[in-house]
Structure formats: structure tokens, C-alpha cells
């Protein structure tokens, strides 16, 4: 089976094994432009590992990952980012010793070489872009605050902001609302709904209500393999899914 060019991302026969244990096993799926794909599945199904493989954090044992017809598996993490893939981690990963402004500034897609970084100037376009993004992720009042002092939910937003500023074509979010208060959750859902409009998104999420809200298609993973794929209604009705979820 050849990768099809009309997909933004095609994952084919993706496999990784850790000392013989196949965490992801012959996995294939395709993401179209402007699609919001949600990956669900029980713990240990390999969801996070799939994201790790796509963004280069873990090296695949076998398979293909093509993004806009570029093979991602051969690229370094930073090259994958420059190709247009952004990744948010499960636990909020921000630079605690830096301010919110500086966190966003580091993610600003300019001056990414050593000398570029040395010569980087905080000029007006940079400032206005950072302000804009900060507004979008509800942090415009906290720009000079150290990230360490943010609440858990605010850190999640900051990380999303750090992705947005790169303007990726494919955004991968690992449990973006985990550990948030109800109010934060509502705000985040609204934020996500806004940002998934003009790009493709892969989301890992447990909250079914939330999944129903945003998903174009849902992929159910089980033991490193695709168990079911389709619309939310389709997978919810799939007996295999019901067995895996209820059988436990």
C-alpha cells in the first residue's frame, strides 16, 4: 500500500518494540487536512507512544510516517517541528524558570539556529504576535510572571500557546484537559474548538463528552493496534470497542 498524497499524514504499518514488547504493532491510519482526529483507548494501548513516534521522540522499529509526503521517521525532532508538526505533552511541559513571555518567545518560529538565537531581537512583530497568542490562551495578564507560578491549567494553556505561535499544520495534543478544573475545562474546550479550525489535529483524550464535541473521526487503539475507526457514533456502537471498554 502506498502513501496517498491527499492525506496530510499517513501512518502505515508503524511498529515499535521495547525489548520484545510491541507497544505499537503494525498501526496504520490517515489524517486528512483540517481533520480533528481523536485517539482513545484504554491505558497502555499505545496512544502516547504513537504521538512519540510521529514527532520523533521515540524511534520506530518499522513502518512509515509520511507528512505532506515527507518521511518523518528519518527526521530529527526539530526538523519535524519545522515541517509543521506540533506536539503537546501529557503533563504540562513549560520552562518554569522563564516568564510566560519568554516561554512564548522561545517558541516563536524565528532564530532557531545557534547564531539566529544569538542575534534574535525582540522587535515589534515578535511582541505583537506574542501578545496576540497570549490573549488567545488567556494569559495576557500574566506575561511577566514566571511560568513556575502558573496554575496547572494555565501551564496547559501556555503550552498550547507555545504550539500555536509556531502555527503548525498538524497539532498533536496529549490529554489537553487532564487535571483541569471545570471552569478551565470549559474555557479549554472553547479554545480548542477555535484552534482546530484551520489545521489538522490529533488529540488523545478520555473525556467522551469532550471527544464528541470536537472529533471528526475517532480511532480506538487497543494493545498497539487499531481496534475501530470512524465517527464517534460508529465506534461507540462497535461491539469490539464495547467489549474492550466494558469487558475490563
Amino acid at each position: 500500500m502506498n502513501a496517498r498524497p491527499d492525506f496530510l499524514l499517513s501512518v502505515e504499518n508503524l511498529t515499535v518494540s521495547f525489548d520484545g514488547f510491541k507497544a505499537v504493532d503494525g498501526l496504520s491510519f490517515y489524517v486528512e487536512p483540517n481533520e480533528c482526529r481523536v485517539i482513545i483507548g484504554p491505558n497502555g494501548a499505545g496512544k502516547t507512544t504513537v504521538l512519540d513516534l510521529i514527532c520523533g521522540r521515540t524511534k520506530a522499529t518499522d513502518g512509515k510516517v509520511e507528512f505532506k509526503n515527507q518521511e518523518l521517521l528519518k527526521m530529527r525532532e526539530d526538523q519535524i517541528v519545522h515541517a509543521g508538526v506540533g506536539r503537546k505533552f501529557q503533563t504540562p511541559t513549560v520552562y518554569e524558570d522563564l516568564t510566560v513571555f519568554e516561554n512564548l518567545e522561545i517558541s516563536y518560529p524565528k532564530g532557531h539556529g545557534v547564531f539566529g538565537a544569538l542575534m534574535f531581537r525582540r522587535d515589534d512583530p515578535v511582541k505583537s504576535r506574542i501578545n496576540e497568542i497570549a490573549g488567545e490562551v488567556f494569559l495576557d495578564d500574566l506575561l511577566d510572571e514566571k511560568a513556575a507560578f502558573l496554575s496547572h491549567g494555565q501551564k496547559q494553556w501556555l503550552e498550547i500557546g507555545m504550539l500555536l505561535i509556531q502555527d503548525p499544520e498538524l497539532l498533536m495534543l496529549d490529554e489537553p484537559v487532564a487535571g483541569m478544573s471545570v471552569a478551565e475545562r470549559i474555557q479549554t474546550a472553547e479554545l480548542l474548538n477555535r484552534i482546530i479550525k484551520d489545521r489538522s489535529v490529533i488529540v488523545i483524550e478520555h473525556d467522551m463528552k469532550f471527544v464528541e464535541d470536537i472529533a471528526t473521526r475517532v480511532t480506538v487503539l487497543h494493545q498497539g493496534k487499531v481496534l475501530s475507526e470512524g465517527s464517534m457514533a460508529h465506534v461507540q456502537a462497535d461491539p469490539k470497542v464495547i467489549e474492550v471498554y466494558l469487558g475490563h
Binding site: F18, D19, A23, D52, R57, T58
Partner: protein
């Protein structure tokens, strides 16, 4: 270089050289085991490892003097008692150090390096003040210093055999303790996730202290054994530190088997090169090879592949 020798001579030399390699291997294993526990399992960079070894050597020295003065009739077996004492004395010091210093630093592994370096300076000065700046001569029972002539050419040093037996014995003991006992499980649980281990009811403080103490104790036994083949002086411990760390790192820090495999490969490489090259160049080449391989394979020889 071998043209002028008979086959018999060559065979004998290679046999003995192989044996020399095995002795070196045992020496490396003994040096590295304590550190493999402290550094490999606990992540503490103990720069005072050599000083703990020397403490074991000084304990042996004191024991030998005691026996020579008070019970000379039993002098020929004092060494066994000395090793046991060395274990407990260094383990006790190790636990004291863990309690006063190391336990505050588990989250800052690189800082343990600095603190233990400070400790090593202090220990060196204490040794110097107590035992004098000069090396002390540890008298080894006569039977341990001889050799077993196998053939006319091949002679096997008894202390070499002793070191080898000790290395095997201690490795086995450490292996059983770390991987076959419930206590070992606790140690591994604590080192992998301290908070979680505490939450499931493991007394993490006690486990840490005992682990560190045992690591130091093993170093003490090694130091005690090395009085047979090396020198005992305030600064002698520093000689061991580079080799020891390289052995542990090269093996893949968290793996005991790796430490042993690495001790084996480094010792064989060094022993072979020493035979064909001059001593200094052999040492340089051995170190370079190890560093080179580590650059290609930074996780060491044996490492678990894990999801990060």
C-alpha cells in the same frame, strides 16, 4: 617478537597472561561493584569511593597490627576478620555520610559529585592526620603471598586466586541481594520512583541508607583485598576513581551484569595491550577505546530500552 620462543614457553606465557587478565578483571569488578550499587542504582556520584576503599585498607592494617601484637598465633587468618570489619566500618561511615549529606541531594545528582569530592578531601586529611602521610605497610599472611607452580613456567599467584574468589563471591552476594531478595526489590522501587515507593509503604529513608551503606561496605572489602596488591596511603584512593567510574558507566550504569561485562572487556583489552605495547600507551589506548565506544553507544554495554 615471539620467534625465539618454543611453543611450550609461548603457551605458558599466554596462559599466565590470560590469568593476569582475569586478575585485573577481578580487581575491576571489586572496585566497581560498590559504585555500581551507589551510582548505578541510586544515582549518587560518589567521588569519595576511593577513600572508602582506602578506609577498608586502613582497617585491615589496624587489624593486622592487633593480631600481630596480641594474638600472633592466629595471624595467618586475620585477613578474613579484617575484611568483615572493613565491611562494617566502611558501611557505618557510609550510612553516616548518607544521613548527614547524601539524603539531602537525591534530587541533585550532579551536586552529589561536589559534596562527595569535599568529603574525599576531608577523609584524605583525616587519614593523613591519623596514619601519617606515608604509606603504611600491611603485612599479609605468608600463605597468601606465595604462588602455585602449575608447571615449570606457569605460576599462579595465590592472592590473584583470592581476589578472583572474592570477586565472584561478592558479585553473587550483591546479585542475590539486589535481584533475588525482597529487599532488593525495595531498593529498585525506591530508586525508580521514590515518592511512589514511599506511598506503598516502603521505608525509603532506611532503604536509601542501607543501600548506600552496603555500597560503601563493598568498597571497603575491595580496599581490604587490595592491600595484597596495592598501596595503602592517604591519597591512594584517588588512583582508582577514573577506572572505577569508567567501568560502571561503560557497563550501562543501572545494570550489574553490565558492570561485570564491562570490567571483563576493559580488563582484557588492557591486559592484552599491555603485553604488546608499553604500559603507558596501553593505558591511553584502553581509555580511548572505552571513551570512543561510549560516544557511539552512550547507554553503555547493557541498557534497558524504555519508553521515555
Amino acid at each position: 617478537m615471539f620467534a625465539e620462543y618454543s611453543m611450550g614457553e609461548l603457551g605458558a606465557i599466554f596462559a599466565m597472561q590470560g590469568f593476569a587478565g582475569l586478575i585485573l578483571f577481578s580487581v575491576f569488578v571489586l572496585m566497581a561493584l560498590g559504585l555500581a550499587i551507589i551510582f548505578g542504582q541510586m544515582g549518587v556520584i560518589n567521588m569519595a569511593h576511593g577513600e572508602f576503599m582506602i578506609l577498608g585498607a586502613y582497617v585491615t592494617y589496624l587489624t593486622s597490627n592487633l593480631f600481630a601484637t596480641y594474638i600472633p598465633s592466629l595471624f595467618s587468618i586475620y585477613f578474613f576478620l579484617a575484611m568483615i570489619l572493613a565491611f562494617f566500618v566502611t558501611a557505618a561511615l557510609g550510612m553516616l555520610v548518607e544521613w548527614s549529606m547524601i539524603r539531602h541531594l537525591y534530587k541533585r545528582p550532579l551536586d552529589t559529585l561536589l559534596a562527595t569530592w569535599g568529603l574525599s578531601l576531608i577523609l584524605q586529611q583525616v587519614y593523613r592526620s591519623v596514619f601519617g602521610a606515608r604509606e603504611v605497610g600491611v603485612t599479609i599472611p605468608e600463605w597468601m603471598m606465595g604462588s602455585l607452580p602449575l608447571t615449570d613456567m606457569i605460576e599462579i599467584p595465590i592472592n590473584g586466586i583470592f581476589v578472583m574468589v572474592l570477586a565472584v563471591g561478592i558479585s553473587t552476594a550483591v546479585y542475590i541481594m539486589m535481584f533475588r531478595s525482597s529487599w532488593g526489590k525495595q531498593v529498585r522501587a525506591v530508586t525508580q520512583n521514590r515518592v511512589m515507593a514511599g506511598a506503598v509503604g516502603i521505608n525509603t529513608e532506611r532503604t536509601d541508607r542501607l543501600t548506600f551503606g552496603i555500597g560503601c561496605g563493598v568498597a571497603g572489602v575491595a580496599g581490604s583485598a587490595f592491600t595484597m596488591i596495592g598501596s595503602t596511603g592517604p591519597t591512594a584512593g584517588q588512583l582508582y576513581i577514573v577506572d572505577t567510574f569508567l567501568v560502571v558507566v561503560f557497563g550501562g550504569a543501572a545494570s550489574l551484569l553490565g558492570t561485570i561485562a564491562s570490567a571483563f572487556s576493559i580488563s582484557q583489552a588492557q591486559s592484552i595491550m599491555e603485553f604488546f605495547l608499553s604500559g603507558s600507551m596501553a593505558k591511553v589506548l584502553t581509555l580511548l577505546t572505552v571513551v570512543g565506544i561510549l560516544m557511539l553507544r552512550p547507554q553503555g554495554l547493557f541498557a534497558l530500552k524504555l519508553r521515555k
